[in-house]
């Protein structure tokens, strides 16, 4: 492992950024490990939650934003519920995802693509059109065969519609997205 030169490589601005956007104070964390102990996803993470918190305390921006862990978090809120220091850890993970996305450093492309298909569907139709999301995701990710066996099963129960249907105010929902993007552009 590399030596981290803390005098040079502590990104203080990043700590402040996360602090401001999440409303949480990373200094409250005393590294007890309760979040890691309770997290259902620890075995899939490259850095367990408590290590993400530690990396955040030490301002290791690149490592965090490029980690898979922040994308594999499902916001199950176990960490937040059990944190003895009252840190809303799930909120910090959420914030880290937002920053990673903003800076184009997403390590889990498939998950981002899935979320994007979801948001596309929402923007287009106002509601989620499950088949649309699935197809959108498959096209973008190239994972054509994933879950292929489930399709016919779902169809047979008449649960999933092949055709998209938009709500009347779909344009209003799209407006929300547009306004958001304009604002984001304005503020850089």
């Amino acid at each position: 492992m590399d030596t981290i030169n803390l005098s040079e490589k502590t990104d203080w601005a990043f700590i402040e950024e996360v602090k401001k956007e999440s409303g949480q104070n990373p200094s409250l964390c005393y590294q007890c490990g309760n979040c890691t102990g309770g997290c259902p996803y620890t075995q899939y993470f490259d850095y367990p939650v408590s290590v993400v918190m530690r990396l955040l305390q030490s301002g290791q921006k690149e490592t965090i934003l490029k980690s898979k862990a922040i994308w594999l978090c499902a916001t199950c809120e176990t960490c937040t519920t059990r944190c003895p220091c009252d840190v809303d850890v799930a909120n910090i993970m959420d914030t880290l995802r937002i920053i990673a996305r903003r800076e184009g450093k997403v390590a889990e492309k498939d998950i981002q693509l899935f979320y994007d298909s979801f948001l596309d569907s929402m923007k287009k139709h106002g509601r989620i059109f499950e088949m649309g999301i699935l197809m959108g995701y498959k096209m973008k990710s190239g994972h054509f065969m994933g879950d292929a066996e489930l399709g016919p099963k779902v169809m047979s129960k008449g649960k999933i519609s092949l055709f998209s249907k938009s709500i009347k105010g779909a344009d209003k929902v799209a407006q929300i997205f547009n306004r958001f993007q304009e604002k984001a552009k304005k503020h850089g």
Binding site: T81, T95, F114, S141, K159, V173, I176, F177
Partner: protein, 322 residues
């Protein structure tokens, strides 16, 4: 006319893969005298994906719907879907907690939201507003073969500051609702353990592994059915149960049924009406129904058969004491 009436947000899943949840909730609520009114032209709550873009955008997508409810002059919104619920609750929490955040959110909306709507899960409405007595009064049938593990999912009662319902570590609302409906409930330790959430599509194996743990624990607890309150949990455990079996080499065949479907069965409704045919692992074998009167008669007979034994035992115990 309905005694109580709520704004009702079924959410996108309940229009598609979780149709039976919607159907059974509507049927059960009707039977319990509760009216559900959908906001006109509601849109998606934003769910998890919106939260990876921006807290403000996510809150705005949720708040659009809350503002529709405000216009209906309703102050309580109920939704069966925990994911929608959390989206609404987080929007509400953020907007009431910070004036600055509220302004930012409302800038994205056509109709500003004034924070006048409280969102509650349909489970909470059933547990707190309708109450166990009213449920018990509606029961006409018993299912003697059924033993259910109530599975709440991660976010119905967590985080406690936002969910503000039941216990964040050992919730009991669904247990109590099912027991009031005459259903036998298993002591299930994984009521809240995550099933894999929305990662089914991009991370199938991970979800299968996590779901496996939940299914295994339910079987260990002696349950032959899992009751759920979340469309995503249901999908991961039911639709993907075959995948779990092939990935993990297991042989689960345990039905995953919405708690409202079980309530409906206890209320004597037809399986068809409750969408029982729409789940993948069939529950037909374990949901044999007998009338309440028949059930009580059987119980009486059983008790009568046990009595002499018990009396003997007590007498023996008394003797050793002295």
């Amino acid at each position: 006319m309905a005694e109580k009436e709520y704004a009702y947000f079924c959410g996108c899943s309940l229009e598609g893969t979780a149709k039976e949840y919607d159907e059974s909730i509507r049927a059960v609520m009707k039977a319990l005298g509760v009216g559900l009114v959908e906001p006109d032209d509601w849109s998606c709550c934003g769910s998890t994906p919106a939260h990876t873009v921006s807290h403000v955008l996510a809150a705005a997508l949720a708040a659009r719907n809350l503002s529709l409810v405000e216009k209906m002059n309703k102050d309580v919104l109920t939704t069966p879907c925990p994911s929608c619920l959390m989206a609404f609750k987080k929007a509400q929490h953020g907007m009431t907690g910070s004036e600055e955040f509220k302004v930012e959110v409302n800038e994205l909306l056509d109709e500003p939201y004034n924070c006048g709507v409280e969102s509650k899960s349909s489970l909470q409405i059933i547990y707190e507003d309708i109450g166990l007595d009213a449920i018990a009064a509606k029961v006409t049938h018993m299912m003697p073969d059924l033993k259910v593990a109530p599975y709440y999912g991660c976010i119905l009662s967590r985080p406690p500051e936002i969910a503000n319902f039941d216990d964040p570590e050992n919730p009991v609302s669904m247990d109590n609702v099912l027991m009031a409906a005459g259903v036998e409930v298993a002591d299930f330790a994984f009521k809240l353990e995550c099933c894999g959430a929305a990662f089914g599509v991009p991370k199938r194996e991970m979800v299968n592994q996590l779901s496996y743990k939940v299914l295994e624990m339910a079987v260990d607890a002696g349950a032959n059915c899992i009751a759920v309150a979340c469309p995503l949990c249901q999908q991961n455990l039911d639709l993907r149960q075959g995948q779990v079996n092939s990935t993990m080499g297991s042989r689960f065949n345990i039905p995953i049924i919405y708690f409202t479907q079980l309530m409906g069965l206890a209320f004597g409704m037809s399986p068809k009406e409750l969408g029982m045919d729409k789940v993948f692992v069939s529950a037909d074998k374990i949901t044999r129904r007998i009338t309440k009167a028949e059930y009580e008669k059987i119980k009486e007979e059983e008790a009568a058969a046990k009595k002499p034994q018990k009396a003997k035992k007590e007498a023996a115990a008394e003797e050793t004491n002295n």
